[in-house]
Symmetry: C2
Subunit: 149 residues, 2 copies
């Protein structure tokens, strides 16, 4: 028997990772791949986390975002406690297949951040006002993308 | 003299990283912080890269995105060869201040990916069609966010 499982998970001679239409996610030496999560409606970035192979597999199989919690050292179904599950509407990968982009609808209270904010990116950089390039933060409403007005 | 430089770059007793309005970016043990780059107009994710402290400083000082190239081991002004510079319109950070989100206008030909694609995320996952959860990729136009129709 031919070992098709092996051949389907490796780049074949002459193939370029940027061109193939097989999904060959490239996990780092720590077994993790970064995942960017955006709101499918607004386009805003909601959060950023990491997936191991099991988290990616569960995300695809269930349609709900799963991650690997590096701090807790365990698989993590986002929103399993808060009810703010992330329903995955589309999954993309980048040219090198070493990053995942999830486009999601946020369930429950529509909150993606553990602070209670819609997005983890609730602060933007603003100049301190002195002559340096030092920056402060300010809490700022999420961007509205042009064309969405 | 008081060492204000030190006190301004560390969390003070009683402070929470999620709440402060000082910018205290948290670089990983490799000296890098992940950076998500989105198109300020469409909201689409264009690319994902890493910054070291110098790249972040240059980005803030010049208004053009700089990264640390892990493959080439050097500071990298995105688009310096192609002309597709990334003009930074807004910089955000997340609750833990360990991720950077850049909202940019792409200069030159409007291309952010080394493949010539507008975004590095030109492929999305689609089911293989068999009973497994295996996925293939297809080249797919970037999302149009609802409300932008």
């Amino acid at each position: 028997m031919t070992d098709t499982s092996k051949s389907s998970t490796e780049l074949r001679p002459g193939e370029a990772i940027e061109e193939i239409l097989r999904f060959l996610p490239k996990f780092g030496s720590d077994g993790l791949i970064p995942a960017i999560v955006t709101d499918v409606k607004s386009g805003n970035v909601l959060m950023f986390a990491h997936m191991n192979e099991a988290a990616l597999g569960k995300t695809i199989a269930t349609g709900f975002a799963h991650f690997w919690s590096r701090s807790r050292g365990k698989l993590w179904k986002k929103g399993e406690e808060s009810g703010n599950l992330l329903s995955v509407r589309e999954v993309r990968t980048d040219c090198d297949q070493d990053v995942i982009w999830l486009l999601v609808d946020v369930g429950g209270a529509g909150v993606a951040c553990h602070t209670g904010a819609t997005s983890c990116f609730y602060r933007r950089l603003v100049p301190t006002g002195d002559a340096s390039h030092d920056m402060n933060l300010e809490i700022a409403a999420l961007p509205r993308h042009a064309g969405c007005g």
